[in-house]
């Protein structure tokens, strides 16, 4: 065992771990909440930077053969996920003080990184759990809202179910092949015996559940709404990204064939339609975004229909675009002492006049999420549907696009509320007591905005590097 390699290959993870440990220390020492936040930011930034530079250097290594390995694309993915966590950390400043949030976030990120690099189901399972467990606690952390415990419980129970499903699938794979390498999944994809099929389906459904695909989505709206804004942002972006990156890793370059391909198309398709339709009637911003994320999970899983090599790129780009914009939307939300008031959609009325920056940023996010060019959300969606079409699933692609059309309305509705409400209604909304987001959150949204602009103008730059 090459300890040098062990050290360097897992450097981003090590940095995160270091961050966790130091944070715990700080937490024990007392209240240095700003210090804790800065430490966490530093740790994540360092990890992201290291991951990026390792990507740039083309670092390849397998410190634990059969368990954990790194390649440049993985490093890219890690860098992106970690970078996405930065604005989330920054915006958390408005919601939390104290070191728990950063510590839990870092643990969860650690899990995501593990999943991205996992070579065996052991590591993937660990990563999955490491990613999820802190989130259950994170949801409860916002105990300014009494519902958050309920949200956490629902997420926990269904998340636990997903764990069990995942394990059931893995065990069947294990039974069929006698191995826990993740490549068994790709092999099983093209197998025709029922046990392999069942195994594939169970694993896939577990990820459907984690990624909130209809009908396994039901936890998402409740959990998103119950959590505080930065946690929602985290769940909607990084957790989802982790799940999808893991799935892509599982599928590797294996072709998908009929029954599984249909599952991969139909459930996401239903999600797209369901999510987009249901989001129309939501009174709360977070809940709306939850349904939107259900729809987006649909697009993301669609990416798996594409041909092997393109999937990773499609998912990764989508994660970048979608993650940036979701975080942007949440970071730009005006702050409010009453967390429940903060995202009542009606309170956004006339926001343009009270807080033009927030209104503009949220608008950009909404438009991009709706997939309207030239924002990166469009390029991301384009890439996915291009791959799906190229793989020959014309009907599914067209249906998916039409489903995505349904979503335009509710995104526009947000803009409509912010910009077009009659003055009287806007004034009433203004009385709800929102105030501009804090400096950190503003920094977070500026960061995301800058990324959005860059991605809009130079999508090719990003794509070439994936």
């Amino acid at each position: 065992m090459n300890s040098q390699l062990t050290f360097s290959a897992m450097l981003p993870e090590h940095l995160l771990l270091l961050g966790i440990v130091v944070l715990l220390g700080v937490e024990i020492l007392g209240k240095y909440s700003r210090l804790a936040l800065l430490l966490a930011v530093a740790a994540v930034a360092a990890a992201a930077g290291v991951a990026a530079s390792m990507y740039a250097n083309g670092f390849i290594g397998a410190p634990f053969p059969g368990q954990f390995s790194v390649t440049p694309p993985m490093m890219m993915a890690k860098a992106i996920v970690l970078a996405l966590a930065l604005p989330v950390l920054l915006m958390s400043r408005d919601d939390f003080d104290g070191g728990e949030f950063p510590a839990l976030l870092l643990s969860s990120l650690y899990g995501v990184c593990l999943m991205i690099s996992a070579d065996s189901f052991l590591i993937m399972f660990l990563g999955l759990e490491l990613m999820s467990l802190p989130v259950y606690a994170l949801i409860v952390l916002a105990y300014r809202r009494p519902e958050s415990a309920e949200a956490a419980l629902k997420y926990l129970v269904l998340g636990g179910t997903a764990t069990a499903m995942f394990l059931m699938g893995v065990s069947l794979l294990y039974g069929g092949s006698g191995s826990l390498e993740i490549s068994t999944f790709a092999t099983a994809l093209s197998a025709t015996d029922l046990m392999s099929r069942a195994a594939v389906v169970m694993v896939l459904l577990a990820f459907f559940l984690k990624g909130a695909i209809v009908p396994f989505h039901a936890w998402a709206p409740d959990a998103y709404e119950g959590a505080s804004v930065s946690v929602t942002a985290y769940m909607a972006t990084i957790v989802k990204a982790g799940v999808l990156l893991a799935v892509v890793r599982l599928f590797a370059a294996a072709p998908v064939v009929s029954p599984v391909a249909d599952l991969l198309a139909v459930f996401p398709l239903i999600s797209i339609v369901w999510g987009n339709l249901t989001a129309m009637r939501q009174p709360s911003f977070r809940r709306m975004i939850a349904y939107s994320s259900i729809a987006h999970a649909g697009y993301l899983f669609y990416a798996l229909l594409g041909d092997g090599p393109g999937r990773f790129q499609a998912v990764l780009f989508y994660v970048v675009a979608y993650g940036t914009l979701n975080v942007l939307a949440f970071a730009a939300l005006p702050a409010n002492d009453n967390d429940a008031e903060r995202d009542v959609l009606d309170n956004l009325k006339g926001l343009w006049h009270r807080n033009p920056f927030a209104a503009s940023a949220i608008s950009v996010a909404m438009l991009s999420l709706a997939g309207i060019p030239p924002f990166p959300g469009f390029v991301a969606k384009f890439l996915i549907f291009k791959n799906v079409l190229a793989a020959g699933y014309t009907t599914y692609a067209v249906l998916g696009l039409v489903g995505s059309y349904l979503g335009i309305y509710f995104y526009l509705r947000v803009i409509q509320l912010m910009f077009m409400s009659p003055d009287a209604m806007a004034a009433r909304a203004g009385a709800a007591g929102d105030r501009p987001a804090g400096a950190f959150a503003r920094g977070a949204s500026l960061l995301c905005l800058a990324a959005t602009v860059l991605l809009s103008i130079f999508p090719g730059w990003m794509l070439d590097r994936m």
């Binding site: 759990e129 606690a137 069947l172």
Partner: protein, 150 residues
């Protein structure tokens, strides 16, 4: 355990199930796991659970409020799941498809220990990270609950 009304009895039933499973593991020769099953599950998890049940003393309402109103669809779907999953496995797993290996030899405590420290060093280490995270998480929740009442 699904039909019992009292949580405590349910817990007892679960413990029984777990111990039985432990016995099965033991019979299969995986003594190491069997030991863990009893130690961790029964010894830690369920004791914790029982403790909580006793602590709470909140009685579930009696009578027909034992089940949610999804009894019939739930049972139906359950039956189908067992059937479908079972048949999937049953049909694919021919009884003689794999040679039956000698029992006991490879599953001893020593072998596992070696394995853990050699091939599965990483998962083992990561378990600690997981546990740390879990502890932090649990503490955080507890802290929140204290704060909400403080």
């Amino acid at each position: 355990m699904l039909i019992l009304r009292e949580p405590m009895r349910v817990a007892m039933a679960l413990i029984t199930t777990m111990v039985s499973l432990g016995a099965i593991y033991g019979l299969l020769g995986v003594h190491f796991i069997a030991a863990f099953q009893v130690l961790i599950y029964v010894g830690a998890v369920m004791v914790f659970m029982v403790y909580v049940i006793m602590l709470l003393e909140v009685r579930e309402a009696s009578g027909n409020r034992r089940y949610s109103n999804l009894l019939i669809p739930g049972v139906l779907a359950f039956t189908m799941l067992v059937g479908v999953l079972g048949i999937s496995v049953w049909r694919s797993l021919a009884p003689t498809s794999l040679p039956v290996v000698p029992e006991g030899a490879v599953f001893g405590m020593a072998e596992f220990s070696t394995l853990f420290l050699r091939d599965y060093w990483l998962p083992f280490e990561l378990t600690t990270v997981l546990l740390v995270a879990a502890i932090v998480a649990a503490l955080a929740v507890v802290k929140v609950s204290r704060r909400s009442h403080g």
